[in-house]
Symmetry: C2
Subunit: 744 residues, 2 copies
């Protein structure tokens, strides 16, 4: 009996001890212990923190940020641009709401400015030499903000100096086809000044195309048809509406590439090798100057010659003629246009500002969130609407950080880029300087440049892996306005398509090179996105918001017309903030690489439908491409299954890391720095520039188009085959990285 | 009392439970649990396993492997080469000693073979057309192994077909300087046949240089001075010694690049784009044929003309004259040499064999260990001595694996490459096919091609990060022979230098492009090494082991002369096996990246001493390079301290992984695919080919040398500045990856 009792006690003791051991071992979270206090390797997105962040983003603070940021013009490298560098540093070093650290990196870059002593001039000159008419040299001072020494006069950055004079012709957009059309119509182009309108082709391309036809100088204006839905009267335009006033001129960079023009592929440190500016490529070959439609009307409505084609007509209230020269009966009969450009190239210091929140668990994984800081004039919309949002997102996160409430799993890097307007210079130099580090470690790049074009709907451009995280964020945030819809449900009303995988979903746009995401996606292969609120395309056909790059893009313009109440700004802040947090904090990276399958399938389908027969004629088979796409799809599906299984189990930290590495690095596998040697920086075989209208793999599309349009014959078709093999190799290589890691 | 008792029981229960919880939480190893059974995230190198592996590597098994591997000639893509693919698969799939999986990947590659119908021929032809002398068309059958249909006759692979005939000249090594010297001496080269000796310059370069002087054909022979320490008599040579017999001819690839010639940068899959062989570059421009010194003597000792310079003389027992043509009084007076080459280019299937051991903890980290399989004839030394070792290492590891005794932390990939002799083709195609995957995940590449050149000492070529792991391995293995020294202590006796950091250490050679490591280091930036046992350079001046690429490189040759007893083979197996296991199993990767500092410092010193004054004359400052090297050094020191601190603490699995990623990827940061666009595959800014004699950064050295030697003036000096900036950017980028990961 006693024995039994003792035995019972012993058994009990053992059982309790065993239970304790089991509890201690299994119930106390596993990953937690080996790491620093309060840090767990299994740290996942905290939905409460997410809700807090989204809830704390404040429209009125964004408004105040914008007021301050756009108070003065802040052209790249100007004193006010430098002052804003200090403002950013101060915010990011704030003891209450700052980040872990903040600093600047400064590059010496080639910028282009108009001469202050010799203003650029466009004039109509009579045969006598008398000046019959001069275009405005600055915009009309409508709100008291369009005058002053810091308002840079309208100019075409990087256009060469020169004073060509000749008969005026009208050349529509200035595309190659446009000049060909003029030639076909028998218009003498040699020595003329070509008036072109914005649109159709990049700024720099207009002068490049013109020069091929011996045109001597180029003018560029914005037609009211393209920006104001045809309206052009002073009382219909700003400050009476958001429309572009008659004197408004779009400034811009006419440089054809991006990055500092003198240091391609090298960071523009003071000691870096620099090209000789005289031999550097990508600058417009002939003098070029932008003008307002008020002045363009005087020039265009007095032209002689045949009427321009219907598609070339605009809203200046006259029949657009082609020229050359002015009507014989008119005030400018026999007169020429004289263009005097006195731009200078200058090496200037331009800074990026970087602010960092150190990751608690994986500090070597970076989520980047950036925007440029420099503007053409006050830049309230472009770029300060984005920077105002950036500062609010960083304030809310910084406050949680400083309070000790939160630290992200991965590192977050905020960036304010310099000299974007001149050609994405600050961001490009950054990617050149930290190429290896960024390529190894960056999870994604979020760009919010112009955060609000208008009030209607979210608009996101990005590569397929970011679609799902953007959708997740957009579904949980209410859209501004009375609709009570989510941002996602509102978005789908404005822009949607029927996905073969998901059914009707909002349409994610693809990334060109319009803002600082370009070097990240094209040069480094980092999954990237650009987030904004935009207009209802059924209500306006404006190319972009009307005061873009003019002196009318002011705080008052935003406050009164673009986003009164700043609710769209807040919506963008909430979306970008939510995406940022999901990327930085989720245990499993919310990058859905299998969404690339849909893109590949669609590119393949286009190739088959639009190029298949042609390729067959030249004995080029799309079979290997079909196989490669299938391999990618299969590997992506298997990976998705692997993720699901792992999420249901209790994965160890390394299993999660290995899987996340596959997700993070998938975008990198599409890079081939040798695929398009003539396209500076562009290495992504899926998103390089496509000149063909066939929406397929760009190398294949472009090579086909060249082979069809040139007489190069078999060499050109060999290049088609080579480009096809490059894509096939990239897809097969990508699929190989998605397969189980121990399967070679 | 009862209450107290109950209380006591409750307290006891609680205490026991608590004790259990504490035990369960703290005593059961932390990292172990979240992973699969018997796998711990903190799994480190097990010294007992290491000892077991090193101890089980067996000389007699290596000997038996070699006997089987070299039993028949196994030229790339031949039936015997295919049979060896099956042998490897069978070994690696063996249920008792195989790996987790094994498979092949096959490429369709361009090889070059002599015609069987029209054998290549070298003859002396009298003015009458009579053939006065013909060179041997095959080697003398000394051991019964030099005849038969599978012994490929001596030829220069990729040399074009053709039947040039002309006067003979002697052109030493066939370097550019050699032909210049002939020209200076007034020797008419136009239309001649140039006899050259192996050495001084690559095989293909001889024909390239000759063609620039209108030479019509090239002969190449091995001078006894260069291979046999002057000995040339039949009774002094194989089979009486290890020396090259008079009829022996070195075969080889005369292709100037590496990889499949028709698919640069693309895997040679059947559907891949292929260059037109007629326009592909890198082939010798004129017919070329190698001959034995027995025949070379007849040609060379009958030449007329001035005596060749002293440095051009060899050991054929006559005064070497320059020609052109034969002595007027001799048997060949007025005769010419006729060279008939009938090589054909053929697309052939060539396979790699891959065998994998899955890593237990980090299966996505690969340690690669490979050698080629194809030989010119029996290839006992080259490459079967390496494959014999490879098979023994994989057998020992496979046996432990199959027994369940061991599984590596990281994955191990064994590789048997195809078609190396034609230009590293199998390995290069592999790196092209799996570019992204390998670049992301490969820890290091170990190459053991010829494992034993001779019996004296270890010889390792590699990049600096592998030095420490090779030294660690070499210190713990006894050297073969009676010395009782370690391999390390024996090595230091034969090849050493005084390191500023470590004092006297063995000298690690640098990696050229002599074997399959080339695509791994130059194209992918993977830390690589080549391990072998070699001869005592104080006892022989032989270029390489004497029967290299001849039909005399047989099992008997190895067994009798190269490594009787196979103890050097075992020493190489032990060294390579130990290095492999240390790389696959160590918790912290044994890659000492700070050893790069010594290389950079030494390159910098050479640049300062040998180029500094010259650069200063052209206003090019080495200051930025000094700063960059200093930054690298500082970052490397700080990283080393970080590693030490982490090793003393209890790092969590992710901290170890993050650090290891920095170590693994350092080599990658030196890659710049745009640095040397004219050098196919070469992207490593520290190890690209250097034509200048200044041992410094190759881009800088080469650009300086070109600027000095050409009249290009400022453009050439701009290129020097550009190359300097490329190196500076690479070093700064490398340093950035070594700094703390949250420091941008």
């Amino acid at each position: 009996m006693k024995c039994l009792k003792v035995l019972g006690v012993v058994v009990g003791v053992a059982a309790l001890l065993g239970l304790g051991i089991i509890l201690g071992h299994f119930v106390i979270p596993k990953g937690a212990d080996p790491l620093a206090p309060s840090v767990s390797a299994s740290q996942d997105l905290d939905l409460e923190i997410l809700e807090t962040v989204v809830g704390q983003l404040d429209a009125s603070r964004i408004r105040e940020n914008l007021r301050e940021l756009s108070r003065e013009p802040h052209l790249a490298s100007s004193p006010r641009d430098e002052a804003l560098v200090q403002l950013l540093l101060q915010r990011w070093r704030d003891p209450e709401s700052g980040l872990d650290s903040a600093g600047t990196s400064t590059y010496e870059v080639l910028l282009s400015f108009p001469s202050q002593e010799q203003p650029n001039r466009v004039a109509i000159v009579a045969p006598t030499g008398d000046i019959l008419f001069s275009c405005r040299q600055s915009e009309e001072n409508l709100t008291g903000e369009q005058a002053g020494p810091d308002v840079v006069p309208p100019y075409a950055a990087y256009a060469p100096s020169g004073t060509p004079q000749g008969l005026l012709v009208y050349a529509n957009w200035g595309t190659e086809e446009d000049f060909k059309e003029l030639q076909t119509q028998g218009i003498q182009l040699n020595g003329t000044i070509a008036l072109t309108r914005y649109g159709g082709v990049g700024r720099g391309a207009k002068a490049v195309n013109a020069a091929k036809y011996q045109v001597a100088g180029v003018l560029v204006y914005t037609d009211p048809a393209d920006i104001n839905d045809g309206h052009s009267l002073p009382n219909e335009t700003f400050p009476h509406s958001w429309r572009l006033p008659p004197s408004g001129v779009e400034r811009g960079s006419y440089y054809e590439y991006f990055g500092d023009p003198l240091t391609p592929y090298l960071p523009a440190n003071p000691s870096s090798f620099r090209l000789d500016p005289a031999t550097a490529s990508g600058f417009p070959p002939i003098p070029t100057q932008p003008i307002g439609f008020e002045d363009a009307k005087v020039l265009l409505c007095n032209l002689q010659g045949p009427s321009a084609p219907a598609a070339w007509q605009g809203s200046l209230g006259c029949d657009y003629k082609l020229g050359p020269g002015f009507q014989p009966g008119g005030a400018f009969a026999s007169s020429q246009v004289n263009l005097s450009v006195h731009n200078t190239l200058e090496l200037r210091n331009s800074s990026n500002v970087l602010g960092i929140i150190r990751g608690a668990v994986e500090p070597d994984r970076y989520v980047l969130y950036g925007n440029h800081r420099d503007s053409w004039v006050h830049g309230a919309v472009d770029p300060s609407s984005g920077t105002a949002v950036l500062l609010e997102v960083s304030r809310v996160l910084g406050t949680l950080l400083k309070k000790g409430t939160w630290r992200p799993r991965r590192s977050i890097v905020f960036a304010s880029w310099g000299a974007e307007e001149f050609g994405l210079i600050g961001s490009t130099e950054f990617t050149e300087e930290f190429f290896s580090k960024l390529q190894e470690r960056t999870v994604a790049y979020i760009n919010v440049d112009i955060s609000v074009f208008a009030n209607a709907s979210l608009r996101v451009q990005g590569t397929p892996p970011v679609q799902s995280v953007v959708f997740s964020a957009a579904k949980q945030i209410p859209a501004p306005g009375p609709s009570r819809l989510s941002i996602y449900d509102n978005w789908i009303r404005y822009s949607n398509y029927s996905s073969p995988v998901y059914g009707l979903v909002p349409r994610l746009g693809s990334l060109g090179a319009g803002s600082d995401y370009a070097p990240f996606i094209h040069f480094l292969g980092i999954s990237s996105m650009d987030i904004a609120y935009t207009y209802d395309k059924s209500k306006t056909s404006a190319r972009i918001y009307p005061t873009y790059h003019t002196a009318f893009d002011t705080f008052g313009y935003v406050d009164k017309f673009v986003d009164p109440g700043f609710s769209s700004h807040r919506a963008v802040a909430q979306t970008a903030g939510s995406v940022l947090l999901r990327l930085s904090d989720s245990l499993f990276l919310p990058l859905n690489v299998s969404d690339y399958s849909e893109t590949l399938r669609s590119f393949l389908k286009s190739a088959q439908q639009d190029l298949g027969a042609l390729l067959e004629q030249h004995s080029i088979s799309l079979g290997p491409l079909v196989t490669a796409v299938e391999k990618f799809e299969e590997a992506a599906i298997a990976l998705d299954q692997n993720i699901s299984a792992l999420q249901k189990a209790t994965p160890n930290p390394l299993q999660v890391r290995m899987l996340n590495d596959q997700l993070m690095l998938l975008e990198r596998t599409f890079l081939n720095p040798r695929a398009f040697p003539e396209e500076r920086y562009y290495s992504h075989v899926l998103w390089a520039p496509r000149t063909s209208s066939v929406v397929t793999f760009p190398g294949l599309a472009n090579a086909c188009s060249r082979a069809m349009n040139t007489g190069l014959g078999s060499a050109a078709w060999a290049e088609v085959q080579r480009q096809l093999s490059i894509v096939v190799a990239a897809l097969e290589g990508a699929a190989a990285t998605l397969r189980p890691v121990d399967d070679l």
